[in-house]
């Protein structure tokens, strides 16, 4: 039986489900990783920015113009106060502003229209350096009171995050207050988080894909089981779909069983009709033939001749009708030994005068994948043929063909006269009996050949080592352990 569909090029349901799972899982997880990183970055910079903003607030609160009378009368000696300009009544609390190149800086400067920033007052940590803002802050200064920007610090390769605020001093002088901090640690934290988040998301993706794959396999397992049961039926190991299936698949299994049952009914009905037709036609034909043979008149001769033609036509077409119904049944198998034994016994009775020695050798567990009736028709005709022509011995051998292709071999040999090479093809010629004036050529081989072909098998004639004819029949089957 050929496969109805080219499964090699069919898309796999498992692959399709896994692929779609991958298609939605990977982007979602990637977006999640990015979002998490973004949130982490935001909170990191929020924590990072708070001290900068506090420092500016402290600077605003404590800056004074040096007009010789500071508001609180205190002067912080540590602060570097340009002459006649500004001083702080109280420095920002964080001690890192005091330690040189500590990574925490503040500066109060005067921003010129040409883009240069002149330091009016700065933290000790700057060690006399100034925070040089990038040239593009000019727009920010013009547009906003406060903003964040990047700058390079006094230390080597020291990227700073700078919080800047434009302030107009009580003296009316506009200044730009800057608080800055080394941003590398925060960047490293965010980078580490992004790496860990990405790694975790990749791990999660892999886990999810595996989970989806397992789920799909588990979910589809009843379908795979169903497929195995259908294979069992096709190969004749079962005659219906057995087992318990989930709600979604149970109707399919039930429908399959109904279909198999219907197929069996149709085949059986067809065979019954053929059988009834045979019975219905053959008895009247027997009456006609015998009635005509009892008389020598010309009329009787015509009736006899025509009845014989009808008989041959009926035989031929009934055989074809039976062949059409054959090979259609699914889920049937026949143990080879169970059929050959009774046939040998029956043929022994039919040919009891010949006292035939039957040498039957059947491999244990050999199963024919088809109907018992058809198998008996094939092997029965071959054995009957051998019995007709044998002198005393008929040998039947049934074994696997050794190729593991789902076929087995059946050999029927006799020690009769056999056939010549030329007679081989003649013996298999279908319809040969129709051309004969008398019924039967002594060979049921065309019938066997037709049946074997219906089962995708074959029939080969050859010479037996016992001297007579050897017929080798190849049929679908298997060996059950």
């Amino acid at each position: 039986m050929t496969d109805g569909a080219d499964t090699k090029h069919n898309p796999s349901l498992v692959k399709r489900l896994v692929r779609s799972a991958v298609l939605w899982t990977i982007p979602i997880l990637a977006v999640t990783a990015m979002a998490l990183t973004w949130f982490y970055r935001e909170s990191t910079y929020k924590l990072f920015d708070d001290p900068l903003e506090s420092a500016i607030t402290e600077l605003i609160a404590s800056v004074q113009s040096d007009d010789g009378n500071s508001s609180n009368g205190e002067l912080f000696e540590d602060a570097e106060i340009p002459q006649n300009t500004l001083f702080l009544t109280r420095e920002p609390i964080d001690p890192r502003y005091q330690r040189a190149l500590s990574g925490r800086y503040w500066m109060i400067g005067s921003y010129q229209d040409d883009g240069t920033l002149t330091s009016l007052l700065a933290s000790r940590s700057l060690s006399g350096e100034i925070i040089q803002l990038p040239s593009n802050v000019k727009r920010s200064i013009a547009a906003k009171t406060e903003f964040y920007t990047r700058a390079m610090g006094p230390d080597e390769n020291e990227p700073l995050r700078v919080f800047a605020r434009s302030v107009i001093l009580p003296s009316g002088e506009p200044v730009l207050m800057l608080a800055a901090a080394d941003v590398r640690e925060a960047q490293r934290d965010v980078g580490r988080f992004a790496l860990v988040a990405t790694a975790l998301m990749l791990l999660l993706s892999g886990g999810l894909v595996f989970a989806v794959f397992s789920q799909v396999r588990t979910g589809l397992k009843p379908l795979f089981d169903l497929r195995d049961r259908v294979v069992d039926i096709r190969e004749g190991r079962a005659d219906r779909v057995e087992g318990t299936y989930p709600q979604e698949i149970a109707p399919l299994a039930n429908e399959l069983n109904s279909l198999i049952g219907h197929n069996k009914d149709v085949v059986e009905r067809a065979q019954t009709h053929v059988s009834n037709l045979a019975h219905g036609l053959k008895t009247p034909l027997a009456v006609l033939l015998n009635e005509a043979e009892g008389s020598k008149s010309k009329f009787s001769e015509v009736v006899s001749r025509q009845a014989n033609t009808m008989k041959n036509q009926v035989d031929h077409h009934l055989q074809r009708a039976r062949a059409a119904a054959r090979g259609q049944s699914i889920g049937v198998s026949t143990p080879v030994a169970d059929s050959i034994g009774p046939l040998a016994r029956t043929l022994g009775r039919i040919y009891r005068d010949k006292d035939i020695d039957f040498d039957v050798s059947v491999v244990e567990g050999l199963i024919f994948r088809g109907e018992k009736r058809d198998f008996e028709e094939m092997i029965g005709n071959l054995m009957d043929n051998a019995c007709k022509w044998t002198k005393s011995k008929v040998r039947v051998i049934a074994k696997g063909d050794g190729k593991d292709n789902g076929l087995f071999m059946l050999e029927v040999s006799d020690d009769g006269a056999g056939l010549t090479q030329d007679q081989y093809s003649e013996a298999l010629k279908r319809g040969a009996r129709l051309d004969e004036a008398t019924p039967g050529t002594g060979f049921g081989l065309p019938i066997v050949d037709d049946l074997a072909r219906a089962y995708k098998g074959s029939l080969i004639l050859g010479k037996s080592d016992m001297g007579g004819l050897r017929v080798t029949l190849t049929l679908p089957g298997r060996i059950d352990e």
């Binding site: 059988s275 045979a278 019975h279 036609l281 053959k282 008895t283 009247p284 034909l285 027997a286 009456v287 006609l288 033939l289 015998n290 009635e291 043979e293 009892g294 009845a307 008989k311 009774p342 046939l343 016994r345 029956t346 009775r349 039919i350 009891r352 005068d353 018992k372 009736r373 008996e376 028709e377 092997i379 029965g380 005709n381």
Partner: protein, 226 residues
């Protein structure tokens, strides 16, 4: 020899009856399985021709019942069912031969003769006893090579005795095996037929065993009484 034919088709049944009678057999006919089974169960037939597709009780069941009841007469199945599975079940039910329709009368008669011959332990259709030659195939009889003209009842009597040569056969047994069911069974007619046969084939060929019956013997080779 008495044959039972169980066949539901009226024309075929008639043909079979005529052909068998023409061949020298006493024939009873039944048109359904129930009647056929009853006849086979109650009458001592030498052989039965049995169709399988019968009304009331099918042929296989009839055969199985007979065999279960210990009936050993040979049965030839005559049927349109030509599948090997059907032949196997026919033989397994106890049939001795199987002939499929349509068939030639000659073939049926040959098969029947073979069955009767085998049942009586003979190997050929012809039986020779001294100079007496009984040809069951042609339903003819020769004495010392010369044909002897016999009526059908005379031939049946001779054929039955020849089949069971050397054995004492009672009048009742002869009546049961040479007459069909419808014949007026008067055992005195057996004596009449025996007398006629003796005149035709030789008086010393049929021995009367007082109180027991008749025996066909070779007059030149009479067993010595001790």
């Amino acid at each position: 020899m008495r044959i039972l034919v169980v066949e539901d088709d009226a024309d075929l049944r008639r043909q079979l009856g005529e052909a068998l009678k023409d061949s020298g057999y006493a024939v009873d006919l039944a048109d359904n399985g129930e009647d056929g089974h009853f006849l086979g169960d109650t009458e001592p037939y030498d052989a039965v021709v049995l169709d399988l597709g019968l009304p009331i009780i099918d042929g296989i069941s009839v055969l199985q019942k007979w065999r279960a009841d210990g009936k050993t007469f040979p049965v030839l199945i005559l049927t349109a069912r030509d599948q090997w599975s059907e032949k196997v079940s026919g033989f397994d039910a106890g049939a001795d031969d199987y002939l499929t329709k349509p068939f030639h009368h000659e073939e049926l008669l040959a098969r029947l003769r073979a069955l009767l011959r085998r049942a009586a332990g003979h190997t050929t259709d012809s039986i020779d006893i001294g100079g007496l030659h009984v040809d069951n195939r042609a339903a003819r009889c020769f004495v010392d090579g010369m044909p002897v003209k016999l009526t059908s009842h005379e031939f049946r009597l001779l054929s039955y005795m020849a089949m069971h040569r050397g054995r004492v056969i009672s009048r009742t047994e002869l009546v049961e095996h040479i007459y069909d069911q419808d014949f007026d069974r008067d055992s005195n007619t057996i004596e009449v037929f025996v007398g006629r046969l003796r005149r035709k084939i030789g008086t010393n060929r049929i021995e009367t065993v007082r109180g027991l019956g008749y025996r066909l013997i070779d007059p030149d080779n009479v067993p010595v009484k001790k």
